[in-house]
């Protein structure tokens, strides 16, 4: 019993220091608003999602230190759906019905988002989704702060086809076997066809989640590249990336011969990899840690301080990445919308989010589109450097508008660029 009370008081004191040093008395009197954090903290996606939980907690702390949202402190409710897709739906229901959270920040894979979507629509919740995805979805209850295909996949492939990017003629579309890679590759195939690339010059390959043996696939990429200048477009998700890049390096496939552009590999995923053999492979994102601008310096410093203070794993080398930036933007957009609507009521907040702007760490002021629930974001393409950071080799002039309904999928031209209340999955 003694030990338990000790642990409790320890946790309480930790919480108070976390909330910016307010005395427990003040804290007890302050009204709070509950906010959900729905990220996998274990399983195959933990490599990517854990830091999003941490950056969300950091942002809440920062907001609380400045007085909270409309004078209310944010009280985060963190749950672990454990990379288990049905569990995502259960946890989302728990957040909405038991904890009655005002908003939820979470999900990484599209399959997890698809699994919580019906819950958020049924219970009229509010989800901010921070990761680039395949589009083909528009829900009234979700705001997408990651990139749509035209803000990541298409510019990346255009770059690969350009003189600067190596003038690729053949493409291997390699992904994990689920909805995001399948849909992205469908869009890319249509896009490549519109650019005159024949079907025989496109090879689509999928692996299961958590796949670790990439020998055959890398050997096949090598063989495929004998037929002409080849590039690989990788939508591999989670910790499978580590064995994939290890195999690439070991089999001597260099970026100057066959560049790999990845849509789900950022600074955090490269942490577990010896990056020297990977120099020159590419990633397309809307933010890189290596970007030089005051907003990013500030963001990086905040994160480094927070990681050190909380003794997070890897705090000796704190890294920021694109979905972390998108999480950060999403939380501030929600805060601004609540303050504009002067209520936490979901419908009124949803109406207020459209049109919000925020000076993002990418160095641009990003805007939530008035209608289509997506951000206007800049696009960067970076090459892996020996230290695991990215060199930006190409960028858009400014933020570009998202097209959740890709024009490269048949029938999308008739769909409206705003939620119409019906689920379209």
């Amino acid at each position: 019993m003694k030990r338990r009370t000790f642990v409790k008081s320890l946790a309480a004191s930790a919480a108070t220091t976390a909330l910016g040093g307010f005395s427990p008395l003040v804290l007890a009197q302050q009204k709070t608003v509950k906010v959900g954090v729905l990220h996998s903290l274990s399983g195959t996606m933990a490599i990517s999602e854990t830091v999003l939980k941490d950056v969300a907690l950091m942002t809440f702390e920062e907001i609380n230190a400045k007085g909270g949202v409309m004078g209310m402190k944010i009280e985060p409710v963190v749950v672990d759906p454990a990379s288990n897709w049905p569990l995502f739906a259960e946890k989302a229901r728990q957040l909405l019905t038991q904890d009655k959270v005002a908003a939820t920040f979470g999900c990484w894979t599209s399959v997890s988002r698809k699994s919580v979507l019906p819950v958020f629509e049924e219970l009229n919740g509010l989800l901010f989704y921070p990761v680039q995805y395949e589009g083909e979805e528009l829900s009234k209850n979700v705001f997408y702060t990651g990139a749509a295909p035209n803000q990541q996949a298409i510019p990346a492939v255009e770059y690969l086809m350009s003189k600067e990017g190596g003038g690729a003629k053949r493409f291997v579309l390699l992904g994990t076997d689920y909805v995001y890679p399948r849909t992205t590759n469908k869009i890319l195939r249509a896009f490549l066809k519109s650019k005159g690339v024949a079907d025989k010059d496109i090879d689509e390959v999928y692996t299961p989640f958590g796949h670790t043996d990439y020998q055959t696939i890398v050997a096949n990429i090598k063989k495929f590249s004998a037929g002409g200048k080849t590039a690989v477009v990788s939508t591999i998700n989670g910790d499978s990336n580590v064995p994939f890049y290890k195999e690439l390096g070991n089999q001597g496939l260099k970026a100057t011969d066959v560049p790999v552009v990845a849509f789900s590999v950022g600074e955090e995923e490269l942490r577990g990899v010896d990056t020297k053999p990977l120099v020159g492979h590419l990633a397309a994102w809307n933010y890189f840690m290596s970007l030089k601008n005051p907003a990013n310096d500030d963001f990086r410093k905040k994160w480094a301080d927070y990681a050190k203070a909380k003794k997070l794993p890897g705090a000796d080398r704190p890294l920021t990445n694109d979905p972390m930036e998108a999480t950060y933007i999403g939380i501030y957009m929600w805060k601004q919308a609540v303050e504009k609507a002067k209520t936490f009521d979901v419908d009124k907040v949803i109406a207020a989010v459209g049109g919000q702007t925020f000076a993002a760490p990418s160095g641009f002021t990003v805007k939530m589109d008035e209608k289509n629930h997506h951000l206007h974001k800049p696009v960067f393409i970076g090459e892996v450097k020996a230290d695991g950071q990215f060199n930006v080799v190409w960028r858009t002039k400014g933020p570009i508008k998202a097209q959740p309904w890709s024009p490269f999928i048949a029938g999308n031209d008739k769909k409206k660029d705003e939620p119409d209340g019906k689920t379209k999955v």
């Binding site: 903290l41 274990s42 399983g43 195959t44 933990a46 490599i47 854990t50 003189k163 600067e164 990017g165 190596g166 076997d177 390959v205 999928y206 692996t207 299961p208 958590g210 796949h211 670790t212 043996d213 020998q215 055959t216 696939i217 050997a219 096949n220 090598k222 063989k223 590249s225 004998a226 037929g227 002409g228 910790d239 580590v242 064995p243 290890k246 195999e247 390096g249 070991n250 089999q251 001597g252 970026a255 100057t256 011969d257 560049p259 942490r271 577990g272 010896d274 053999p277 120099v279 020159g280 590419l282 794993p313 090459e383 450097k385 020996a386 060199n391 080799v393």
Partner: protein, 533 residues
């Protein structure tokens, strides 16, 4: 085109002129210009043909080139030299910008470096340079290559230079030269040459051939067939190796289980977690080496092998003493108890090390691979694991057949009562045998940490495969385990090449279900008294 001309000039310059200082304007353009300007600067450097440009270009390729104001520096660690004068720069200027090289520039730098290095005195450097040039030979480089050929005395370098010349002469106007060049290239087996010859037999969208000369086309087809046959051999070797590699991993994962389940009959659902513990032990040894013995970091793995074995064996022994010993002869309870233990072990690791994967680095000698053929590279890490699996197998077979403990283990598993009657301490033998099986699982973990991810869930990925191998091979049969592991490895890899990774996995599982239905005793049936038990 400008670069090609430049290239010609380079070699002329290399052979004719003494070196003189690098041009400051060119170096500045290389460091601060846009891609096209950088490309031009590169041509200019190559035109000068100054061997002193080599360190500058190497620094650019390695990303070690930085600018500080108008000065261009080569920065290695905290040491810097001026790229222009070669003087040491100390202290380092605080404001420095990296010179950004993208893939296009890096490729061009590689070509320029190769051209400059063709005249180096060291044979290995010339050979490497020639091989690089072979990948991207330009028509204008022909006179240079011929010139280098005239001076070259080494047979290997000559062979590559001749291939370069041939790959350029394919585009010549003279039919006889072209055909001779195509014949020369039929010996080659690089994908790059395959790609080049492929363009000769290509059809345009309208059905006509891209190459108008029918004789050339015929010769190209003949050479292509020869190259394809050789590449196909390479592919077969590659497939064979990846089958062996996957088989060896399955074998390592299953060997420990072959003792605990195969010989002792304990349905040990925590087997995967014993593998995971071995991997974490490797991780801890790695960290210890990094902290206290950084000079010997490359050899941490040798030390990690016995540690992983000992830690997993100790956990296994504790498990047997505390839990499993009380459950002998009750398979269902054993299954449930060990499954519970596996969950506890996973959670314990999550609490101790966090839910995220930990980083286990390959020692330097395990990165890269052996190029058996130009198209086939066998990664060292996998070769080492195949050898390691073979060593563990031999050691285990010897331990079971040549040692007293092995004799006891076999005695106890064949007839416990009789063994007990003749004075074998059966309870202690059980503990030792279980510890041995667990220790081997730890060795598997040590090996797996080198190719896969190390996280609390590591074991979950291997438990099913391990049981699959042991059951398929026939419970209690070591030879069966070996054959089943290699067989599953090959089947998986062959199917993967043919149908993709997802379908291959499904097909293998379906096959095993059918096989076990038809032949429940596995490949090798256990004979004798224990068979009925």
């Amino acid at each position: 085109m400008r670069r090609l001309i430049a290239l010609v000039l380079v070699l002329a310059a290399l052979f004719a002129l003494p070196a003189h200082a690098l041009d400051a304007r060119v170096v500045e353009k290389l460091a601060t210009g846009d891609s096209d300007e950088k490309s031009e600067a590169l041509s200019a450097l190559v035109t000068e043909g100054d061997a002193r440009a080599i360190p500058l270009l190497e620094a650019l390729a390695e990303g070690e080139l930085q600018t500080a104001g108008t000065r261009v520096l080569i920065v290695r660690g905290d040491q810097a030299v001026d790229a222009l004068t070669g003087e040491k720069v100390a202290p380092l200027p605080a404001e420095r910008d990296d010179v950004v090289a993208n893939n296009r520039l890096r490729r061009e730098v590689a070509g320029a470096l190769a051209a400059l290095r063709l005249a180096l005195p060291e044979r290995a450097a010339r050979l490497a340079a020639a091989k690089t040039l072979l990948e991207s030979a330009d028509p204008a480089a022909l006179p240079l290559v011929k010139q280098a050929l005239a001076k070259e005395s080494d047979a290997d370098v000559r062979a590559v230079l001749e291939s370069i010349a041939a790959s350029i002469e394919i585009a010549s106007a003279d039919q006889a030269t072209r055909i001779a060049a195509i014949r020369r290239l039929s010996d080659a087996a690089t994908p790059g040459i395959r790609q080049l010859l492929g363009t000769l037999v290509e059809k345009r969208p309208d059905g006509t051939f891209a190459e108008p000369d029918a004789d050339v086309r015929l010769e190209a087809e003949r050479s292509l067939r020869a190259i394809d046959a050789r590449l196909a051999w390479g592919e077969r070797v590659g497939q064979l190796f990846s089958g062996i590699s996957l088989g060896s991993i399955l074998l390592l994962a299953a060997l420990g289980l072959a003792i605990t389940y195969g010989l002792m009959g304990v349905i040990n659902m925590a087997h995967g977690e014993l593998i995971m513990i071995g991997a974490y032990a490797t991780y801890l040894v790695q960290n210890a080496f990094r902290a206290w013995l950084p000079a010997y970091f490359d050899w941490y793995l040798l030390f990690a092998v016995p540690v992983a074995f000992a830690v997993s064996a100790a956990v296994g022994a504790a498990l047997e003493r505390l839990v499993i010993r009380h459950l002998y002869g009750r398979p269902l309870e054993t299954l449930l108890a060990t499954w519970g233990i596996s969950l506890m072990l996973i959670q314990a690791m999550r609490t101790l090390f966090g839910a995220q994967n930990v980083q286990v680095e390959n020692p330097a000698w395990m990165s890269g691979g052996i190029a058996v053929l130009p198209s086939v590279v066998l990664p060292y890490s996998r070769v080492v694991i195949v050898l390691f699996a073979a060593a563990v197998l031999v050691a285990m077979a010897l331990a079971l057949t040549r040692t007293r403990l092995g004799l006891y283990v076999r005695g106890v598993t064949q007839n416990r009562t009789m063994a007990s009657c003749v004075g074998v301490p059966t309870a202690r033998v059980d503990t030792w045998a279980f510890a041995l099986g667990s220790g081997i699982a730890g060795l598997a973990g040590c090996a797996l940490s080198q190719i896969g991810n190390v996280g609390p869930d590591l074991g979950q990925a291997y438990i099913i495969d391990s049981f699959m191998v042991v059951v398929l091979g026939g419970v209690g049969q070591l030879a069966g385990t070996v054959i089943a592991a290699l067989g599953l490895g090959f089947a998986n890899k062959l199917l993967e090449a043919w149908s993709g990774a997802v379908l291959a996995k499904i097909a293998v599982l379906a096959f095993i279900i059918v096989f076990i239905q038809k032949r429940p005793q596995g490949l090798f049936a256990a004979r004798g008294r224990s068979a009925e038990a």
